[in-house]
């Protein structure tokens, strides 16, 4: 499929031009913007100024891009500690939008945008959709949640900017989503990958085969997902599935996105400066090494974030992409250090369990991980829904499947898990970010 964005047959959208900047000019732009944003945060955000002062630093410390490593990190706790407006660099009279996280652990985190910020956000979302081949004439169903969550409105303005027709369904009401998708001749969809898999399942139950609809492209993000899930989506719905990356603390969706090569996510580096650090030592790692992604907003006005620790584990891909974009790529984020749980002293990521299940079944079954504590000993249970593909009328075949799943999980995570085969649909579905881990351990 050729990448084209509009009705004039051009190869790329003019707004995407910074994706193709020569590296020398890009680094020069980044340095100038870095100096400006550090100065802005220093002048207007008291907690940042105090942290700089503790290290006897001023914005003048930034002479080259490498000097960014001298600056202090920002953490999610900073947003909680300064709830609600303590990190704003603009007066409220210039702030035109607030968003907030769902706040599963106490207070939500609040983020803010000026009019300029919203224009930048729409432009990076436009570049996101352009790289996925969305263009004027497309009808795109936006099933990211609208409201305080950044996903819905972030995607919405990018879609309008590129000239697509937006169907703002927001999340939920799955049967209606499928009806509109079919009746409107929807060609693109935005939602979390796990919700789209739920849509495929439900469409099948309603007798709608998504492969026979005009639906062509999916823009999926807001949670880590694997190549196996991509295969499951592309095979089950006949679309091309693109991974996008973003987080509310930085801007929302629109930090980076895959191009047609589907080989890593291009970071919109003219606005977001990426570093990879060792999460233990906090030292910056060279490009290519795996570690925690740290992002600095180079142009954000209402709420600049300097060296924000994302907790996402990835690495920077330095090889030029054959799509022609010069902005660097990160590998797909398969795991977050936040998702990690420790069981009997072993670090386990849900993505490892996913890999183990995929290795046995070929496609990813719906599953959940339940952590319990029995007489002081942590137990990992994995419930796996039995799909028609793996179900057999023979007990021996089902027991062999059970054994292979247990072995595969133990081989990959190092933990012996209590695998339980369960009926289809017995594990709750999420309409937003998938919940994979139920931690029921009590002290």
């Amino acid at each position: 499929m050729r990448e084209s964005w509009n009705d004039q047959g051009q190869g790329f959208h003019p707004v995407s031009a910074p994706d193709y900047l020569p590296t020398v000019q890009l680094r020069d732009l980044q340095l100038r913007r870095l100096k400006a944003v550090v100065t802005r945060a220093y002048d207007n955000v008291a907690p940042f100024r105090e942290r700089m002062a503790e290290r006897e630093l001023t914005p003048a410390v930034i002479e080259t891009l490498a000097d960014i490593a001298k600056l202090p990190f920002s953490l999610k706790t900073d947003l909680r500690d300064n709830y609600p407006f303590g990190l704003f660099a603009s007066p409220m009279s210039e702030i035109v939008r607030l968003h907030a996280s769902s706040g599963t652990t106490g207070k939500p985190i609040v983020v803010a945008y000026t009019q300029e910020d919203l224009q930048v956000w729409a432009s990076v979302m436009l570049r996101t959709f352009a790289s996925a081949g969305v263009h004027r004439g497309d009808i795109v169903q936006n099933a990211y949640g609208y409201g305080l969550f950044t996903g819905g409105l972030g995607a919405h303005y990018g879609l309008e900017a590129i000239g697509a027709t937006v169907v703002p369904t927001s999340g939920g009401n799955t049967d209606r989503q499928i009806m509109l998708m079919r009746d409107f001749g929807v060609t693109g969809i935005c939602c979390t990958p796990s919700y789209f898999i739920h849509l495929i399942e439900r469409a099948g139950e309603l007798g709608v085969d998504l492969r026979e609809l005009p639906l062509r492209v999916g823009i999926f993000g807001a949670e880590p997902w694997s190549e196996g899930m991509r295969e499951c989506i592309e095979h089950g719905s006949g679309i091309k599935a693109f991974d996008i990356y973003g987080l509310s603390e930085i801007i929302g969706p629109g930090v980076g996105s895959e191009c047609h090569e589907q080989a890593g996510l291009h970071i919109f580096e003219d606005h977001f400066y990426p570093e990879i650090i060792d999460p233990e030592t906090c030292q910056v790692l060279p490009d290519g090494e795996e570690g925690e992604l740290v992002l600095t907003t180079l142009s954000k006005r209402a709420m600049p974030m300097i060296r924000y620790r994302t907790r996402d584990i990835t690495h920077i891909i330095t090889e030029p992409c054959s799509c022609g974009r010069t902005v660097r790529r990160i590998a797909r984020v398969a795991r977050r250090s936040d998702d990690m749980f420790i069981i009997r002293g072993v670090n386990v990521f849900p993505s490892q369990v996913e890999t183990a299940l995929l290795a046995v079944e070929g496609i990813l079954p719906h599953y959940r991980i339940v952590l319990t504590r029995d007489h002081g000993l942590d137990q990992m249970g994995v419930e796996v829904e039995v799909s028609p593909e793996v179900f057999s009328d023979q007990v021996s075949v089902m027991e062999a499947l059970h054994k292979r799943l247990s072995h595969s999980i133990e081989r990959i995570t190092g933990i012996r898990a209590g695998v339980r085969l369960v009926e289809p649909h017995s594990i709750p579905r999420s309409e937003g970010k998938a919940k994979r881990v139920w931690d029921e351990r009590t002290a």
Binding site: V386, S392, D393, Q394, V395, R420, L421, E423, S426
Partner: protein, 144 residues
């Protein structure tokens, strides 16, 4: 001469078996016979019903995972050594039986056993050649 069996995955939770039977009852689908193979954590319900396609559809709609399998309804003389004589013929033909269960009622004066072979087509041919009577689906329907 093969009979369609529906198998259904049942979690070991109270009410799941009842709900499966209820799904069939609500569509007025009669169960001719059944067997439940169970392990500590799950069971596999195998059913011979009057209308296998409708039965499968009813269970699928109720959210169960199901599968259609071809089995044989094998007539067995209802006397001592009756089953042994049939199994001897299966042995001679080197047929592998995965599992079997008895039909709940006699068909005519003879007992009927449902047998799941790993190679159902070869089993039909070999058993018929050995003089074993296989009961057609329609005859099961007439009886039940």
């Amino acid at each position: 001469m093969k009979v369609t069996q529906i198998s259904c995955f049942i979690e070991n939770r109270p009410g799941r078996l009842h709900a499966a039977c209820e799904a069939l009852a609500s569509r007025r689908i009669n169960i001719h016979t059944l067997s439940l193979a169970d392990t500590a954590e799950f069971g596999i319900l195998r059913l011979i019903v009057a209308e296998p396609d409708a039965g499968k559809a009813a269970l699928d709609a109720a959210g169960y995972v199901t599968r259609k399998t071809e089995v044989l309804a094998v007539e067995v003389p209802d006397d001592a050594g009756g089953l042994a004589s049939v199994l001897a013929k299966a042995d001679t033909a080197q047929l592998n039986i995965e599992y079997m269960y008895a039909f709940s009622a006699e068909v005519g004066a003879r007992a009927v056993v449902i047998m799941r072979f790993s190679e159902p087509d070869r089993a039909v041919e070999a058993l018929q050649r050995a003089g074993v009577n296989l009961v057609a689906p329609i005859a099961l329907l007439a009886k039940a």
